[in-house]
């Protein structure tokens, strides 16, 4: 199972997915979990996902919830692009998912979104509010991955 952290680490909490996946390298994880720092992968995500049977994506998510909240999303719940157009930065994850669906290559997926505090400041490192909750966020994500991996074993 592949776990991909996404985001731009030069834009404060926008890079939370990458920071969490890198922190997970120091934690105990189920066997067979591969951690990938996907960065600003954009369309490359399609190449990373195709051929996998199961995948977890960790990324910042915009939601009306307190910063640091970890949200579980089904790929179907990932927001539609505003228009029926194709813009890589508008929301690449949705676009990648749509193309994989058409190509019949979508792996079974879990998306873990983390609500950011600040994604507008040009800064390497997290905002104070996410920094404070970081250990807690990493642990929540780890537990979700563990739970998801266990589901795989039971099926």
């Amino acid at each position: 199972m592949i776990v991909i952290g996404l985001g731009n680490i030069l834009l404060c909490d926008e890079g939370i997915g990458v920071h969490v996946v890198n922190a997970l390298r120091e934690r105990e994880l189920p066997d067979g979990v591969e951690l990938v720092d996907g960065g600003v992968a954009g369309f490359t995500l399609l190449n990373m996902l195709e051929g996998e049977t199961r995948a977890v994506i960790v990324d910042a998510v915009s939601a009306p919830l307190p910063p640091g909240t970890v949200v579980r999303l089904d790929p179907k719940e990932v927001g539609k692009s505003k228009e029926e157009k194709y813009s890589l930065h508008d929301f690449s994850l949705r676009d990648v998912l749509d193309l994989m669906n058409l190509r019949g290559t979508t792996p079974e997926m879990l998306i873990l979104g983390i609500v950011p505090g600040d994604i507008h400041t040009y800064k390497i490192g997290l905002s104070p509010e996410l920094e404070e909750k970081f250990e807690d966020i990493v642990e929540k994500v780890r537990k979700e991955i563990e739970k998801y991996a266990r589901q795989e074993r039971s099926t």
């Binding site: 960065g39 029926e84 194709y86």
Partner: protein, 434 residues
């Protein structure tokens, strides 16, 4: 005075918009706005050590991450006089070709081909031409795989260092790449025949200035010791500011470049206009099939120019791998890097055009000042000028048609607005504390 605003551009990296200014029935000006926030990446670099600039700048963009990392490394090597072993140079060239294949595959197959086939997006192209979409996905994957094997990761490389590379790829990995490249080269004729059927729309015709790096070597260059213009002038790299004479414009947060007071174009088409005679093999053949003898009159030829370069990058990386497999590749790094006070320039042809990184370092090797000039920042003024000509010829009463044409012209430049790093600084140079 009227205005027609076209919001976010579809199928363009980042968020950009176009405003057409109309006086009566006449188009007076077209602005390309950049909505993306000010890019303060250069300021982020101030105070960082020379060994960090490649990894930081590689995070600016997921498409050109290898280009930024390499260009930053060139600048560090220039500043400290670091030699690079021949094997490392070959591997770096391979990395450049990997990025070129990846980026051109993405733009050509996913962003430009839908225009050619009159489709809204690649999702619609998938239904009509699934084999072209598959070829694009698979070429893009190969480009990322080259970067993974040479750069250590499919995006944001970690295997580059001043003086060469951290470690060489294994012969097994290189053979894996070679076999994939040969398969793709076998497929080139088929794709070319499909693309040949589509006529490039005549949306505008004008004279333009092109700029690219060049070299005295016989190879089609992506690095070079000189900057050359289509008017025939040549400048050493250190004089990059004579080309990229930048101005700040009120409607955009990116700076624009002018050469001798005029806009210019960089990218695949510019490289073919300036260095196209150096293309050989299959790439030369594809160029003759997909581009007119003088392709300089419209930027729309940039799409097919990218495909020509993609073929060149496949052939050239296969050749480089054969050279590597026949030689001792153990020495990929020169000795220790000794930082010193001074400045360095790096220049590189990345998929969208010439990229410049300039750094000033203090005696400990910490960045005192940084300047990054991206291809998109250089192209912006030319895009606006082309959009104006295109709008003048467009039926203004048909808004949808105007939008379609202007978007097609802007997209042909493959602009990466998210990485037009070049930013308006919030502080003046002298006010910096770092």
């Amino acid at each position: 005075m009227g205005k027609m605003t076209i919001g976010h551009l579809a199928r363009v990296e980042g968020h950009g918009g176009i405003t057409v200014h109309i006086d009566g029935e006449k188009v007076t000006r077209v602005d390309m706005d950049v909505y993306e926030g000010s890019r303060l990446y250069e300021a982020l670099l101030v105070g960082k050590r020379y060994s960090e600039v490649a990894s930081i700048t590689s995070r600016v963009c997921g498409i050109c991450s290898a280009g930024h990392a390499l260009c930053a490394t060139f600048a560090v090597e220039d500043a400290f006089g670091v030699p690079v072993p021949p094997t490392a140079k070959i591997l770096r060239d391979l990395l450049i070709h990997g990025e070129n294949i990846e980026s051109h595959a993405l733009h050509f197959f996913f962003l430009a081909l839908p225009d050619f086939f009159g489709k809204k997006s690649v999702l619609h192209l998938q239904g009509d031409a699934p084999e072209l979409v598959s070829a694009g996905v698979s070429l893009k994957k190969l480009g990322n795989r080259i970067q993974e094997i040479v750069g250590g990761r499919p995006v944001h490389p970690v295997n580059l260092c001043p003086g060469g590379l951290v470690s060489p790829p294994s012969p097994g990995e290189l053979r894996e790449l070679l076999s994939q490249m040969e398969n793709h080269l076998d497929n080139v004729d088929l794709i070319t025949s499909e693309v040949e059927k589509v006529k490039v729309p005549e949306l505008l015709s004008r004279e333009a200035t092109f700029v690219a790096l060049t070299s005295d070597e016989p190879d089609y260059p992506f690095t070079g010791e000189k900057i050359k213009t289509s008017a025939g002038e040549e400048y050493p790299l250190g004089e990059f500011r004579r080309i990229c004479h930048e101005r700040v414009v009120r409607h955009s947060t990116a700076k624009q470049s002018l050469y001798s007071g005029k806009p210019f174009m960089v990218g695949a088409l510019a490289r073919i206009v300036i260095n196209g005679e150096k293309l050989g093999g299959k790439a030369r053949e594809v160029r003759e099939r997909l581009l007119p003898p003088d392709p300089s009159r419209t930027p729309l030829h940039n799409n097919n120019a990218q495909f020509v370069e993609l073929v060149h990058s496949l052939e050239e990386s296969a050749r480089l791998i054969r050279v590597l497999l026949d030689s001792d590749t153990s020495e990929v790094r020169s000795g220790d890097v000794i930082p010193r006070e001074g400045s360095g320039i790096g220049a590189l042809e990345v998929p969208r055009g010439t990229l410049y990184h300039y750094y000033e370092f203090d005696g400990e090797g910490k960045v005192r000042d940084a300047e990054i000039i991206t291809p998109t920042a250089q192209n912006l003024a030319n895009i606006e000028s082309d959009l104006t000509i295109c709008a003048e010829n467009a039926p203004l009463e048909n808004r949808l048609e105007v939008v379609r044409r202007l978007e097609m012209v802007a997209r042909a430049y493959d602009p990466c607005i998210s990485c037009s790093v070049h930013i308006i600084r919030k502080e003046e140079r002298g006010e910096r504390s770092g």
